[in-house]
């Protein structure tokens, strides 16, 4: 049992993955000596060598494209994209190649590749450093998409993603990198693609993932003071969605609010709303309501606190849900 920040938990997870399988290799910009701009790979090149922890040239398409080739050669590459806004040059390789190779080969070739993306805002960064591109990847068949919200999940989910024979886009909530938790390295983790009720409640269900899980827990705590009992679900897996857990909750509470940082329009909340409504049509007392980033490019950091969903906006939406 050790207390770890999420960044350190990810680091420990990578270390265990590197130890467990000699075919695991890490690649990305500045992940070697520097240990990555968030220090998630700190010390790994020193311990596992330049052949396994690879500083890549400054080219994201190249990083993912060569990782595809390494995967075809039997390796299990774990690529780091330095910031969310820099994944787009690799979009073609991810969407046309990584996502499709298993399908194109009728299952003969696996693509055990992980793309780690520190994502989301709230750290006062300049543009392109605070984006939430998860919907693009979740809409892409052939990919699996997950996000961790706490150090324990970070530790286990990353190892599970590396062990998966399918490509996994792994979103790390960068503004939670420094939050701490006890990590029990001998525990048995839950499955990678399972959602989790992180706070049981009866009045309204909040569904979130990554950075917004904490926001929702805080909201639930505040609501409790006013006598409202909110259930909070951490999706963990964005694609596939573990709808059973969510539907069960929706049937219980009859009211669901989804929360993410990404723009609302066609964000994960849209799919959740559509699926929940389809499965729980007669149980819903209110339409599934969505809290998200506004439908703008990510704004300058001095207004980001207003742009991002926060406790007030979540509770405001809870009020609206209860008003139905």
């Amino acid at each position: 049992m050790t207390t770890l920040t999420m960044a350190k938990a990810l680091n420990a997870g990578l270390r265990r993955a590197l130890e467990a399988d000699p075919k695991v290799v890490l690649a990305g910009q500045d992940i070697g000596k520097l240990g990555g701009v968030f220090r998630v790979t700190e010390g790994l090149q020193k311990d596992f060598g330049e052949h396994r922890v690879i500083d890549s040239p400054l080219a994201e398409s190249g990083i993912i494209g060569t990782a595809v080739g390494m995967a075809l050669r039997g390796y299990r590459p774990v690529c780091e994209i330095q910031f969310d806004g820099f994944v787009y040059p690799a979009f073609d390789q991810i969407v046309n190649q990584v996502a499709k190779l298993h399908f194109r080969s009728r299952g003969r070739q696996t693509m055990p590749l992980v793309v780690r993306i520190p994502f989301g805002g709230g750290i006062g960064a300049v543009e392109h450093h605070s984006e939430s591109p998860e919907a693009y990847f979740s809409h892409t068949p052939g990919l699996k998409v997950v996000s961790c919200s706490n150090p324990v999940d970070a530790y286990w989910m990353l190892q599970q993603a590396v062990a998966s024979d399918d490509p996994v886009i792994f979103f790390e909530p960068k503004r939670r990198y420094h939050e701490r938790a006890e990590v029990d390295e001998s525990a048995t983790p839950m499955p990678l693609h399972a959602a989790r009720v992180v706070r049981p409640g009866t009045d309204v269900t909040l569904v979130a993932y990554g950075p917004m899980v904490k926001t929702c827990l805080d909201s639930a705590a505040a609501a409790a003071d006013e006598g409202r009992d909110l259930e909070v679900i951490d999706l963990r897996s964005l694609s596939p969605l573990d709808l059973s857990v969510i539907a069960e909750s929706a049937q219980k509470t009859g009211r669901v609010v989804t929360v993410h940082e990404a723009p609302v329009n066609l964000g994960l909340g849209a799919e959740l709303a559509a699926r929940i409504t389809e499965q729980c049509f007669y149980s819903l007392e209110a339409p599934v309501l969505r809290v998200g980033g506004f439908d703008l490019p990510y704004p300058p950091s001095r207004v980001e606190e207003e742009y991002l969903p926060d406790l007030d906006r979540v509770l405001d939406m809870v009020d609206r849900s209860l008003a139905y």
Binding site: L72, H102, R106
Partner: protein
């Protein structure tokens, strides 16, 4: 590698066999095989061409959705394909039928792709030949990554010729404009990967002439990335073989990437959907017809007496028989099933997709039941 570094301003074209079928000396390269080997290449090229003709016919008859012809590029493909060793690996575009042939890919698989039955279907790992890649340039990065993997496996520069391996990444002249191809050069150079970049400059990217992509010879691109480039007569199977053999050897022994520009010509349309009369002159075609890669070898074998008509006739007969068989097998291929496709998406199936598949099966079944019901009614 003389003349290969691309630093001079004279354009040198490595040629070992003239269009008239005469052997030509070259100070840097020589062809190592004997006449039996050459006869083998002749056969490879004739069969590749026969495949191409048959596939084109099948497309015209509505049996294939599309076909991308390799006509005129047989020497570039067979010469390089035959330079590979069993442990090497090739990453093709969609036009490398001659290379596929050399790697032992059953040509039926090429037809199944263009017929719309699958996306290739050969066992890439078994034959060392990746699936065709249609997104221009993407495969050059895969090739580079695969080569980085070979190097990580310790299979470069061991000195054991049965173990050391290398990769060839194929691409066209048009592809040299894609970011991915240039990034592949960067990665290959940076990691000194065991790879040969094999560019078939067939002068055209659909309707766009090579001048739209580059105002200097393509092989010179390599020098700017720190590795040698060489231009070879792409219609000369001996020269292509010699140049590729040397480049692969360089790669396997740990000396890094080489760029080969095989200077050739796309004798046919871009694909069966294309109409080249819209954008190019018949004259051009005539000019290149005189440089035909197959006729050239035939002339050589004839001239030297290494083969006589009975040889050529036998090959032709083999090719025709091959075509007949291929056609029959093509038409006999089983149709793919939509329901199966749900199984190909993930190695570890998701409940969501499994459910979608089950629902679709049920939906399909409802028609069968209706049909039965209707049938029962008669």
């Amino acid at each position: 590698m003389s003349g290969g570094s691309g630093t001079g301003t004279e354009i040198e074209l490595v040629q070992l066999l003239s269009p008239e079928g005469e052997r030509v000396d070259h100070q840097g390269y020589s062809f190592s095989g004997d006449d039996e080997t050459v006869k083998g290449y002749y056969r490879d090229m004739v069969l590749t061409r026969r495949l191409d003709t048959e596939a084109t016919a099948l497309q015209r008859q509505g049996e294939l959705g599309l076909w991308a012809s390799s006509l005129g590029q047989e020497a570039a493909q067979v010469g390089s394909g035959r330079a590979m060793l069993a442990q090497d690996y090739a990453f093709p575009t969609y036009r490398e039928h001659g290379v596929a042939w050399c790697r032992g890919v059953d040509p039926l698989h090429l037809l199944s792709l263009f017929r719309g039955i699958d996306m290739g279907g050969w066992d890439s790992a078994a034959v060392g030949f990746a699936l065709y890649t249609i997104v221009i340039g993407a495969q050059t990065l895969h090739a580079t990554g695969y080569a980085m993997g070979i190097e990580r496996d310790g299979l470069v520069g061991t000195g054991d010729p049965a173990r050391d391996a290398a990769v060839i990444g194929y691409f066209g002249d048009g592809a040299t404009s894609q970011g991915d191809v240039n990034e592949a050069f960067i990665f290959a150079s940076s990691y000194n990967a065991p790879i040969v970049f094999f560019c078939q400059n067939n002068q055209w990217a659909i309707s766009e002439p090579i001048e739209r992509q580059s105002r200097i010879p393509l092989y010179r691109r390599a020098a700017g990335f720190g590795f040698p480039g060489v231009r070879v007569d792409g219609n000369d199977v001996l020269a292509v073989h010699a140049v590729t053999t040397e480049a692969l050897e360089r790669a396997r022994s740990g000396n890094g990437p080489t760029f080969i520009e095989a200077y050739t010509y796309r004798m046919g349309a871009h694909t069966t959907s294309d109409d080249p009369t819209k954008y190019r002159l018949a004259d051009d075609l005539e000019h290149w017809r005189l440089k035909d890669p197959v006729a050239r070898v035939r002339a050589y074998l004839n001239r030297t007496g290494a083969a006589d008509d009975s040889f050529f006739d036998a090959i032709q007969a083999e090719a025709d028989e091959f075509a007949v068989q291929l056609r029959a097998r093509c038409l006999g291929m089983p149709e793919p099933l939509m329901l199966d496709a749900f199984d190909w998406v993930y190695a570890e199936q998701t409940p969501y997709l499994a459910e979608q598949q089950a629902r679709y099966a049920e939906y399909k079944q409802s028609f069968a039941t209706e049909d039965e019901a209707v049938g029962a009614g008669h």
